[in-house]
Symmetry: none
């Protein structure tokens, strides 16, 4: 059996996938999971919300909860997304600089060093006064970035700067033999100077030297400004070698998302990026409808529940979940074969941060190949009694999706 | 990003821990788990017991059950303890001799061979009559051990004997190049002679020779005794290299336990050993209260439920669980940040041995970062419906504890 060598416990679909024209909607509600809040009758945000459309879909689905990374581990957005998309987050470690750059539409190449930069304000003695330089507007920030760019000239290394939102921008270094193990210049504290970049190996020492040179060439041009008179650098990273969605699953995929970082995640996995006008849940669904038919796999991302969770705003998160529920009401009308609604991780308003808690998840198929259970509410307590299972590993979701899409051959004779 | 290389799937908290002053009470009820007993309305010992204080704590906690090693595997005390403390029991194999020696307070060094010895009675033909030599008192046994010690003189190898309880004692060999792969001399059967020690490699052959020499030098001095006229040796083992609790978790830890073997487990993990006066559940809690404030992590051990389970005494185990419940009543008054109540393994009175069955577990936090569920009773059936999950891996408990203590940074950007 020639295919035997291609079986893999780690990637259990490998060697079993066959081509298919099935369509899949994979909705990621950012920060979906919560924990009971004493001020709201010990409901979670999702349980407190009135979500008749999600509840109806849960009634028709198989339900469960997932653990993004492993028990007790609080994930960042990137590893959490990789997990729900079936990529081992320990195998594919992605630096923040890369994600920021991808989110801004930068076409990164192998070997590039991507760096998160942020404007800051130093006092006359070079000590940090404001790590966000008084939060300049994106337009103001972009003007300053353009000015910096003209000052930089480093033989043998292309340095490209890309304006981001507010105080943020990205630098990409392109040249031979640049390493990424460099100390961050951002001291992450007030009253102290920027840290001088230093590399921990030969190629990283070269990068550190480039960074020192960038600072030497550009800082004089902004030194007199009362607010944007310096910038800090961190999150140095190179593009990881991640197989695309198409290579891994044989699925043409698009990302229907509203925020740069999630466009970046889509690009990282080789997804096309749909045009979305606006940033609301409704805008995501409108863009999906408009871009329906070109792809098999549709990654939808709903950002705001996470934002409100981080703001400790239980009611705003809850209301946003109602809007997401409402926006997803007509999702079955597009006639997809499989629908998944889940989150990348929990962001309980009670904690105001990402957390390690389980994330409600439901899976529905048009052909009814899923085990419809007795869950009638899309909430933490209800879904965990469902047939999909409680605290399943997030990396197991994609194999379930592929199976329910009828895309997997039998393992073994 | 310097921290990237330090992430570890196997030890998921690695690279994420930050210092903390949180306090944790980790109560291990030995042999806690049970199975339904037909003579007691198909209740388990824990379900049959009246445990209002444990039930109240369960009501305020997140509940579940754990599997100590893996499904179907019955653990010994040591691997079961290592698991609940987050150490992979397959990675850290600990010989019984080492645990016995540590339990007796022996300060073992690297390379030492620790051996479990027990008095036995041989007949005139050297055949085993009683593997416990009629169960001598600890005092009587100690006198004989002292007599043996004076007979031993082996050039290049220090042989130290340590009296234990009743028929048990420990031998520790200290010398260069001693291996531990030696056949046990205890035939574990009646009517047959002791087995001659033999080593399976060069260093173990040297050890076997030392053991033969010990028997040759000492047996004549006791040959005439009607009961304690020989001893058997087994459990040869060297000190494993186990990272201490402090190194692994950054937690200063103490063991509040009543029996030697569990002091040994505490020492193995680098815990301080609290003075406990008495052996009851109440004595453990009294010692905890007296030693509160010096450590962050408090390992409590309640021995008797396991003992009564092994005696097949359903009612005694059940009553002992009531005493443990009662002793734990005021545990929250000490103001710990996190409380775990669990067992190392099940010891169903119906079976009279350790078993592979799931072990009830609850986790409570002062700040309410846990998912309080709808479990109102601390019992096998009730806890398995809780939000912590049914049959979670015991090694996942510590990551949950660290997360709930707020000691773990986010994984990835």
């Amino acid at each position: 059996m020639s295919e035997r060598g291609s079986y893999s416990q780690k990637e259990p679909y490998r060697g079993l996938l066959h081509p298919s024209d099935k369509t899949i909607v994979f909705a990621v509600i950012d920060g979906l999971g919560g924990i009971p809040h004493p001020d709201y009758d010990n409901f979670t945000e999702l349980e407190y919300a009135q979500t008749p459309d999600l509840d109806r879909l849960a009634t028709e689905s198989t339900n469960g909860t997932h653990i993004p990374i492993s028990p007790g581990i609080t994930p960042g957005s990137i590893p959490a997304h990789l997990s729900v998309f079936g990529y081992d987050p320990y195998e594919y470690l992605v630096g923040r600089g890369v994600v920021e750059a991808l989110g801004l539409g930068v076409d990164l190449q192998e070997g590039d060093i991507a760096i998160r930069c942020n404007w800051c304000t130093l006092d006359d003695d070079g000590r940090m006064v404001d790590r966000r330089a008084g939060r300049p507007t994106s337009e103001e920030s972009a003007q300053y970035v353009t000015r910096l760019q003209t000052e930089i000239n480093i033989p043998g290394v292309d340095v490209a700067l890309y304006p981001g939102s507010e105080h943020r921008f990205v630098a990409v270094l392109r040249g031979d033999g640049l390493g990424a193990s460099v100390s961050e210049t951002d001291p992450q504290a007030i009253g102290v100077p920027l840290i001088q970049p230093a590399g921990s190996d030969e190629t990283s020492a070269k990068t550190a030297h480039v960074l020192q040179e960038i600072m030497r060439q550009t800082f004089p041009s902004i030194a007199g400004d009362p607010r944007l008179n310096a910038f800090a650098m961190r999150g140095y990273s190179t593009v990881p070698n991640i197989p695309s969605f198409n290579d891994r699953y044989g699925l043409s995929a698009q990302a229907v998302v509203t925020h740069p970082a999630y466009r970046g995640i889509g690009r990282l996995l080789g997804m096309d990026i749909a045009q979305v006008n606006g940033k609301s849940a409704k805008d995501v669904i409108a863009a999906l409808a408009q871009n329906w038919g070109e792809h098999q796999f549709h990654y939808l991302h709903f950002k705001w529940p996470d934002t409100y969770g981080e703001n400790k705003d239980f009611e705003a998160k809850s209301e946003e979940l109602e809007l997401v529920s409402n926006a997803l009401a007509g999702i079955q009308d597009l006639n997809p074969d499989v629908i998944i609604v889940t989150g990348d991780h929990a962001t309980p308003a009670r904690l105001g941060t990402h957390s390690w808690h389980p994330v409600p998840t439901m899976l529905w198929t048009r052909e009814g190949t899923h085990f419809r259970d007795d869950v009638h509410q899309f909430g933490e307590r209800a879904t965990r009694t469902g047939y999909l299972g409680h605290k399943i590993a997030a990396t197991n979701i994609m194999p379930e999706v592929l199976a329910h899409a009828g895309m997997l051959d039998k393992f073994g004779a």
